[in-house]
Structure formats: C-alpha cells, structure tokens
C-alpha cells in the first residue's frame, strides 16, 4: 500500500479500520457422564435408622457397612442441579463416612465386603465419557470440561484408595473382583478431561499395579495399546502424562537384565510418542521414562538417540527445544563408551540446531556447553566433534541475527580453542579456504548465467529478424 502523494499531504483523518470488538467472557463448562438417558423419575433412598454420626467407627459393623455400600450404588444426575437435592446430600454424607470407616476401623473387611465394594466403585466411576464439548479440544489452550458429579465421584475415589491401602486389604481375595475387565475400564477413564479425576485414577492404578502381581503384564500391555492408538490412530487421549508417570516408577522396578518385551516397549512405543503433536503435555514424564530405561541398561542409549534423531522435528521449533532438553538429560547419564558410538550423528544434529535461525533452539543447544559432564565428553572426543561443529559455529558467529547467540557462540569457540588449539587453527584455515573456493564457485556460476542470458537475448533477436542469419 502506498501513502498519499507528497505534494498534497493527507487530510483524510477518518480511521478506515475502526471496529468494535465483541468478546464474550468464556463460561466455565462442566459436563456429566454419558450414562443418563432421560429418566426424570425422582430417586428415593430410605435413610438407614442408624445414622453414620452415631456409628462407632472403631467397632466393626460389617452388615451396616454392606448396606451403606449398596445405597451408594445409586447414581445421580448432576446436570440437573435441582433434582434429588436431599438424596444427593444424603449420599455425600454416607460416602464421607464410608471413607472414615475404612480408614479408622479394624476387622471390618469381611470376604463378603469385597464384591460389594468393587460393585459400588464400578457403578459410580465406570461410565462412557461424554463427547468433548469443542470439536477441536486443545488441552494447551482450552479449559478442561469438569465432571459435574465430582462431589460424589471424588469421595468414591477417595474411599477406593483408602480401601486399597487398608492394612486389612487382601489382594488374594480382591483379585476375584478386581480383574482384567475392571482394569480395562479403569484405563479407559484416563481419557477423562477432568484433571482431578485423572489424578485420582493415577493413584488407584498405581496401587492396583503394586498389589496385583497377576495383573501387571496385562496393565502394561493395555497401556501399550492405548499409546499405540494415541500415536498412530487418534492423537487424542487426555491421560498420557498420568500413565507415563505411573510407567516411570514401573520402569524403575524392572529387574535386570531387561526383558525383550520391555525393550520393545521402549523402542516401539515410547520413542514414537515423541512424534505426537501435543508432546508438550507429557514430555517431562516421557523424558523421565526414557532416562529411567537408560539408567537401567546403558546399552539402550544408541537405539534411543538414533530414534530421537529419526523423529527430530523439522518445522516445530518448540518441539525442537523439548528434544534438546531431553537429549541433555540423556547425556547427563550417558556412559563414555556409549557416547563414542553415537557422537557423530548426534553432533551433526546439534550443529544444525546451533545454527537454527530460531534463537531459542540455538540457545538451548548452546547451553550444552555449560554442562560440565558434556564438556568433558566433548573434550575427550574433540578430534571428532570439533570438525563437525566448527563450520556452523564459525559461520553463525558472523551471521546470526541475535547478539545473545553470537556471544554464546564466541564462548563455545573459545572453549574449543583452549581444548585443542592446533586442531582449531587447522580448522580455521580450512574453513577460510573453503569459503574462498565457495565464493569463487558462486562467481563462476553467476557469470555462466549471465552468458546464458546474453546468448538467449541474441537468439531471441535473431528469431525476430533483427540480426540476419
């Protein structure tokens, strides 16, 4: 667009671009599960004549306990805020006291109680999760939809965790009821949008994994499936971070030598998880898992780093910074023998990052030189690494737009010079002669083009009949 001519200065004062901005404040959304099919009938629970308040929680009263559990199987519709208010409140207090009861009393847990507990928990927590409100739910941008029935749901989770952690709890009896099907439904709930629910689920699953040895392999396999579906099919699952967090401690407990199954999980599931668009939501937990694996078995370093290099982000700078962070975590624990195996492809990538026009990427890569352990590794292998890094460092020390980067690069170059001054001088000399050769080539190319253009011009004229043939 152009400005007004200088001869007559603009008197056009009206702002052509005035606009009213209309923005509504976002409403906080909450959502109920997808299980209510317009029922409309009011729900009646007959309050038990022994109120929980009068209930001496220290003396076991198994029968009352069972009755209360049965009452809590009734599920209320929380989207209708006005219905069944009294009964909702009654259930809430009942649940509260159930929580107290399993925490305090002794000898309450009869064998008959197990199926009732599992039934009550299943009735309350297992439900089809509702569709996400916005079609393109972006966990980084959008507010999560909160579960409407949380006042009850929270207490049910709380109760279940206390139950699992109770000293009287016997996995050998419980395993009849807490079975594969139960675990499968539990895992599906990790897709809940409500972070509070996922947090409780995390604890629940962790306890189950700890207490039920027979379910461990199954749980790992199902998590596998969830991740694979997430990576290759839907790219949508809300509970990835929570599942990874559990896995972090699971990996920690793996026996050595690692089973083939675990290695496969690392290479075929955890590494591909890096490719997902929403990586930032679970990257910290993922990096933790990876490092756990490498601390267990250092020989896995090479496949892991090669995997990361294969999936290295090409256009997403934000992800590149995350990858660099993870790589530093890996380098922190790398064994020198492993480092030697992978240094060449690794530093080729680092050299590309250092010269990235995005200053955050370059900066993150250059911070490696503040890490003493990495510095010592570089120093030991300077004859290999220096030649790889030199030309990009030298070039950006002259060309990078960001002064902070240039300053960092100077430090790195200085460090290199102190490390191996003869090699440094050699590289400087080769770099300069290389540049000159390049320049010469460029000039030659330019001249060639010029000649070609002349030639074309002449031929064109000839065909026009100007120059007689």
């Amino acid at each position: 667009m152009s400005s007004a001519p200088t001869t007559s200065p603009s008197v056009d004062k009206v702002d052509g671009f005035s606009r009213k901005s209309v923005r509504k404040a976002k409403q906080k959304r909450s959502q109920s599960s997808s299980q209510f099919r317009s029922q409309g009938k009011p729900i009646e629970l007959t309050p038990l004549n022994v109120g929980f308040l009068e209930w001496d929680r220290k003396t076991a009263q198994p029968e009352l306990f069972l009755k209360k559990l049965q009452q809590c199987c009734t599920v209320f519709d929380f989207m209708d805020t006005l219905s069944d208010l009294k009964m909702k409140e009654y259930k809430r207090s009942t649940l509260n006291e159930l929580v107290d009861y399993v925490t305090v009393s002794r000898g309450y847990l009869t064998e008959q109680a197990y199926p009732e507990v599992v039934k009550m928990v299943s009735q309350n927590i297992f439900r089809t999760l509702p569709p996400s409100d916005s079609n393109e739910f972006d966990p980084e941008e959008d507010e999560p939809t909160l579960e409407a029935s949380w006042p009850h749901l929270q207490l049910v989770y709380e109760f279940f965790i206390r139950f699992l952690e109770s000293q009287e709890f016997q996995p050998s009896i419980a395993k009849k009821y807490i079975d594969q099907k139960f675990v499968l439904q539990l895992l599906e709930l990790f897709d809940s949008e409500d972070p509070r629910e996922r947090d409780y689920l995390k604890t629940v699953l962790h306890r189950i994994y700890g207490k039920f040895l027979g379910l461990r392999a199954f749980i790992r396999k199902q998590i596998n499936n969830i991740f694979l579906r997430f990576v290759y099919e839907t790219e949508h699952f809300n509970g990835v971070a929570e599942l990874l967090e559990i896995l972090g401690s699971i990996i920690n407990g793996f026996a050595l030598p690692l089973k083939a199954e675990h290695k496969q999980f690392l290479v075929k599931v955890l590494i591909p998880l890096h490719t997902v668009r929403s990586l930032s939501l679970f990257h910290a937990q993922l990096a933790y898992c990876i490092v756990q694996f490498l601390e267990k078995d250092p020989t896995l370093t090479e496949p892991v780093i090669r995997g990361l290099l294969k999936f290295w982000p090409k256009t997403c700078s934000q992800k590149e910074v995350m990858y660099l962070g993870e790589l530093e975590e890996i380098l922190d624990v790398i064994e020198p023998t492993q480092f030697v195996k992978i240094q060449e492809p690794l530093f080729k990538q680092i050299s590309r990052c250092v010269s990235s026009p995005h200053f955050q990427v370059a900066e993150r890569a250059l911070y490696y030189w503040n890490n003493e352990y990495i510095m010592s590794l570089i120093e030991e292998n300077s004859s290999v690494i220096l030649p790889i890094m030199f030309s990009s460092l030298y070039r950006i020390s002259k060309e990078h737009w960001n002064p902070a980067i240039v300053a960092l690069v100077y430090n790195v170059l200085k460090a290199f010079m102190e490390m191996n001054s003869t090699l440094f001088d050699e590289l400087t000399a080769t770099y300069k002669s290389d540049r000159q050769r390049e320049k010469k080539k460029e000039k030659e190319r330019e001249e060639l083009w010029k000649k070609l253009e002349d030639l074309e011009l002449k031929r064109g004229l000839r065909s026009d009949g100007i120059i007689p043939t």
Binding site: T7, S34, Q35, T128, E233, D464
Partner: protein, 657 residues
C-alpha cells in the same frame, strides 16, 4: 552404500530406457529375466538403504504398486512382494496403508497360480506376524485374493480372518472389523451365514467401543447380502443392540449410517424396528447423537415406504422433531434446521402450513444465528410448496438481525442468500424492506463484507435489470464517492467495477465514468490507483470515443503520478486495455480502429511499455490486406514503438506479398 545406491539408480535409469524403447519385445526372453533380476536387486537396494525415512517409504510404497511393467510384466510381478511385505509391517500408519493399497493393486496382476504360490503365503505370513502392524495389514488383503484361489486355500483364508477378528490387540480387531463388510461381499452366501454372522455378532459386542462402532458399518454390507427372511434373526438383534449401546460413539455411528441401514434392511423392518430406533436416537441423551440423527430426518422420511409414509411421519417423527426445535444444544438445532424444510415437499401444502410452518417460524427466531441461517438458506424448498409469502412477515426480522450480527461470517452468509431471497420475494418487497440493508453492508467495517456486498449488488442488478439499478442503487453508490472515509470511496469504485457490465454502456458512460474520473484527484493514493484499476475494468463497456477523449488523459496523468503504485497501475491499465482491444471484436486489422488505437497508445510517450509480444502475435496472425501500407505509415510515425515490433511487422508484410 551410497555408491551402491548410485549404481542402482544408474541401473534403473538404463533399464528403463531399454524398456521404453523396446517395449514388449523383451517378453519371454532371457533378457527380460535378466532385466527383472536387475530390477529385483534394485528394489532390494532401495529397500535396504533408506529404511528410515517415513516420507520416502510412503513414496516407495506408492510407486511399487505401479512397477509391474517395469519388472517385466505380470509374470514377474511377484518380485515386488518382498519389499511391499516389509513396508506393510512398519509402524507408520500411512506407509502401511499405502503398501496395502499397492499390494491390493498388484494382486490383480498375479495369475491364479502365482496368487497361490506367492501372494497367499505372504498374506498368511502377515496374518500370523508377531507385531500388530503386520496383522492389521493382513486384514486388508483377504478380500482381494479370496475369489481367485482354490477352495482349500479359501478355507485357510477364512480361518485366518476368524483368528484376526478375535485378536487380543484392539488395533487388529479394529482393522478386521473395518474390512468385515468388504470380506463378506466376496464370500459364498453359505459362508456369509456360517462365518460372517458370528464374527459380526462378536465384533459388535466387543469390549472396546472403537471396535463396536466399526461393526455398524459392516452391518450395512452384510444386510444387503442376506435374503430378507434371514435379516430378522441374523442381523436385527445386533443392530437393535447397537442402537442402544451404552457408548454414545456407537449410537452416533448408527445415527450417521441410518439412511444406508434403512435401505439395506428394507421397508418392513424399517416400519417395525427402525422407526422406534430413530425416535430414540432423536431423543438421545448426547447432543452428538441427536445432531447426527437430526441430520437424517429428511432422508429417513423420504425413504419410508410410500403407502403409510405420511402417517408414520405425522405420528412418530414429527413429535420428536418438534422437541428438537427447542433443543438445548445449538448444533442439534442447526442440524435440524438444515434439513427440516425438506419435509414440506414430502408432507404437502396443508400439513406444511399446519404443522411445519410454526416450527420454521420458531427456528427463524432462534437465538443461534446458524439455525436461522440454515432455515433461510433452504427457503427454496418451502417456496415450491406454500410460497414464501407465508413466511415473509417473520422472515424480515430474522434477516435484519442476521444482517447486523456481530460475527462477520454470519453477515457474509446472509449476504450470499440475498439474490435468492430477492428473486423469491420480488422487487417491491425488496425495495421496501431489504434495500437499505444491502446498502448498509457497503460500509461494513470488514472488507470481506464490503466485497460480498458489491458482488451482491451485481447479482441484484442482473435480476432486476438496469433500469432498477439506475433508480435505486447507482445514485447511492455514486454518492459514497464523497464520503470522508477513503475506504468507502474505494467501495464506490469496487461497486462500479462490479456493476458496469450489468448496467450497460449508457449508464456506465454517462453516470459512472464522470465520478471515476473525478476521483483521480483524490488525496489518498489507494483511491487513485483504484481509479486506474477501475478504468481498466470498465474500459470494455465504454465506447471508443470516451476512451479516447476522457479516459486517456486521466490515465496519462496518473501514469506520471508521484506515487509509484499509482504509476504502476496506470501503466498496467493502459497496456491492459491494449490487450483487451487486441483480443476482442473491436480489433479488426483492416479497420481504422486499429490505427487509432496505435496512435492512442503511442501518444503516451516512452513511459509506457507496450506489450511487444502481444502486438507481434496480433500482427503475425492477422491477415494483412491492402491497408497494410496505411498501417506501416502510421507505425513509422511512432518512434516509441520498439524497433523489433516494427521490423517484425515489416517482415510479415513481406511474407504476405
């Protein structure tokens, strides 16, 4: 390995040359064998050297499907199988899918013997692979080889498919479920009953809803394959169960596929089963499901058996529809609004007036603009049945409100329906009620709206004629030329651009042109260069006299403007007009017009670049007559003409002699 790779490429190139130049001569020849051997090794090198880049693998998977002729024709096509087999096992879904696609393609090029010797073992290997990826790929290959193998192999294939349907990995079960319908189609009828139905039932009650919903899709194909009398016992129990599944995704799928299901099961089952199922879906607790069902209302009603269609709609469907009109979810309402008008053609005039009209009117007053918009955009259906007049009283406030909606996309959408509405409501109603709206859009603060508004005016003029334009629109548009806001002044120019052709030469020359010319003195450069653009645009409508005496001096002046953009567009306009004249009826090489034109152009002086090439083309293609000399005489006076054009002109002249 890079050297190896280079060699391979070299081989490939040279081999291809051989293929191209000799074609089928190689057939049944040792050379072919040698050739395909080479290809085989090349493919292997490809496959070994670049195993890691998914993008490359994708391209490779795709290309290998077209390699049949390159490896020596159908006899050797099986040598493409090993690399495709490996590609069909990679993790990346797109690569794997592409490899399966290519395998399906080349399976057709296998002879029946090759299919059993080479292809079918590959399918079996994939089907019993360790990692889930190969098993998912296998699912897509059964149906292409099944029809062409012997009955023992067929039995094996059926067994493999059965196994995969109960695989313990949900990914594989999903793949199998999605191919169930396709596989059922190639099976013999007796096996559809004995095998497919049990698989279908099992998949439809899988523990994962992602598997169950795929079974719904298969249901359509299976139902079409079975005789009517078996549907009730074999398919319907499963379908009923799916329509009431506890997962909304499955119910959504049923709603989404409802028309297909309806056609597949026939009218009797539709009456007894699908009508109540559809009612339930319309009342579902999840908005997603209701919206999907609402979308199908018209189609479902259309496909009902005609004998008691009206009765079913009136007693079963319409009550649900009435409820949906006041649904709490706007997506549901807008889905309904996009099809509800279609019911009027099915129900006829009386029912429409009595039952549907109140619903239309309610939706026209809906709080959600999308709902109103969907109603308005489908007015034509109602127009045919009861005429739009019935609605016009309610229509107007709805249109006015949409026209002033805060979201510009809503305003844009309503503008697009204006010409249609104008046609249906007639010119009087339009002048009275809508004209002001159309003019108000011209000064909207969003450019896209102003642009759409000018386009709208053009369409209105096309509908109502030039006289109407002269009386109602043109004065207002031209009045904006004096607006203090330069954006509004530019809108005048944009309107003129759009309207000149529809209004014709008379109005353009007498009323519009003076305004445009006057605006060439505007203080804002953007206005001035738009004047240049407009002059170019309306040039074709003007007569040559106006061009010569009025347009020319103004463009000449603008071409020397101090602003570089104005200068540029003025020059563009001048050469653009020349282009136009050269390419249309105005140009006749034998006429004096052409000579005037040349004078006209050349009098601009050296600042103007004449499209040399175009001129030369024109001269060379035109038939030069006895007036050639006259033209040359003119040209000789035009020193601004580049010498090359002149000389080529001379050359052409010589040639014709």
């Amino acid at each position: 390995s890079s050297q190896q790779h280079q060699e391979a490429v070299h081989h490939c190139a040279s081999s291809r040359c051989g293929e191209d130049s000799h074609g089928k001569l190689y057939k049944n020849d040792t050379e072919t064998q040698l050739y395909s051997l080479k290809m085989y090794s090349i493919i292997h090198i490809f496959y070994n050297t670049i195993y890691d880049e998914d993008e490359v693998l994708l391209a490779l998977a795709e290309q290998l499907g077209n390699f049949t002729m390159l490896v020596g024709g159908p006899e050797y096509v099986h040598c493409l199988l090993p690399p495709l087999e490996s590609l069909a096992t990679v993790e990346e879904t797109v690569v794997r899918d592409k490899a399966v696609e290519s395998l399906r393609k080349i399976s057709q090029e296998h002879s029946p013997v090759d299919l059993e010797v080479h292809f079918e073992p590959l399918v079996k290997r994939l089907a019993s692979g360790d990692w889930f990826t190969s098993r998912t790929s296998a699912c897509g290959l059964f149906s292409v080889c099944y029809p062409r193998v012997s009955s023992t192999v067929k039995a094996e294939i059926r067994q493999h498919f059965r196994t995969l349907c109960s695989d313990d990995t949900p990914m594989v079960r999903r793949a199998a479920a999605s191919k169930l319908g396709e596989f059922a189609k190639v099976l013999e009828p007796e096996y559809v009953k004995s095998d497919i139905i049990s698989l279908f039932t099992a998949l439809a009650s899988d523990e994962q809803d992602s598997v169950r919903l795929l079974a719904v899709e298969a249901c359509v194909s299976i139902a079409t394959l079975l005789p009517q009398e078996d549907l009730e016992t074999l398919v319907m129990p499963t379908l009923r169960q799916a329509a009431e599944d506890k997962s909304w995704r499955v119910r959504y799928m049923v709603a989404d596929k409802f028309s297909e299901l309806q056609k597949a099961v026939g009218s009797e089952i539709t009456k007894n089963d699908l009508v109540p199922a559809f009612q339930n879906l319309l009342k579902d607790c999840e908005a997603e499901v209701r919206a999907a069902a609402a979308n199908k209302v018209k189609e479902f009603c259309e496909n009902l058996p005609e004998d008691n269609r009206e009765q079913i709609i009136m007693t079963h469907i319409l009550p649900c529809v009435k409820e949906l009109v006041s649904d709490t979810n706007q997506h549901v309402k807008s889905a309904l609004a996009s099809v509800i008008m279609g019911l009027s053609t099915i129900l006829g005039k009386d029912n429409t007036i009595e039952h549907l009209l109140p619903l239309f009117l309610a939706q026209l007053k809906d709080e959600c603009p999308e709902v109103r918009l969907n109603i308005i955009s489908n007015l034509d259906c109602v127009n045919e049945v009861i005429g739009i007049r019935q609605l016009s009283q309610s229509l107007l406030p709805a249109i006015v409100e949409l026209a002033e909606d805060a979201k510009w996309r809503v305003r844009l959408a309503i503008i697009e329906y204006m010409p249609l509405l104008a046609g249906q409501l007639g010119v009087e109603f339009f002048d009275e009620k809508l004209n002001t709206l159309c003019m108000a859009w011209l000064i909207d603060h969003v450019y896209a709206i102003r642009e759409a508004a000018t386009c709208n005016l053009m369409k209105l003029v096309e509908k109502f004629g030039a006289e109407w334009a002269q009386n109602t629109i043109v004065p207002k548009v031209l009045g904006m030329a004096n607006d203090p806001n330069y954006l509004h002044r530019m809108t005048t120019l944009f309107c003129i651009n759009a309207l000149s052709e529809a209004c014709g030469q008379e109005i353009t020359t007498k009323q519009m042109l003076p305004v445009v010319l006057k605006m060439s003195n505007d203080q804002v450069a953007n206005v001035r260069f738009n004047v240049a653009k407009s002059l170019q645009k309306i040039g074709p409508v003007l007569d040559s006299n106006a061009l010569q005496t009025e347009v020319k001096p103004v463009l000449e002046k603008l071409a020397t403007d101090s602003d570089m953009d104005v200068k540029y567009f003025a020059q563009e306009a001048i050469s653009g007009m020349f282009d136009f004249l050269l390419s249309t009826k105005l140009l006749n090489f034998n006429s004096l017009n052409f000579i005037f034109l040349l004078f006209f152009l050349c009098s601009f002086g050296p600042s103007i670049t004449i499209p040399n090439q175009r001129l030369q083309d024109g001269i060379c293609h035109g038939t030069l007559s006895n007036q050639t000399l006259k033209v040359i005489a003119c040209l000789s006076q035009l020193h601004t003409f580049t010498s090359s054009a002149a000389s080529s002109f001379v050359l052409c002249g010589k040639n014709t002699k």
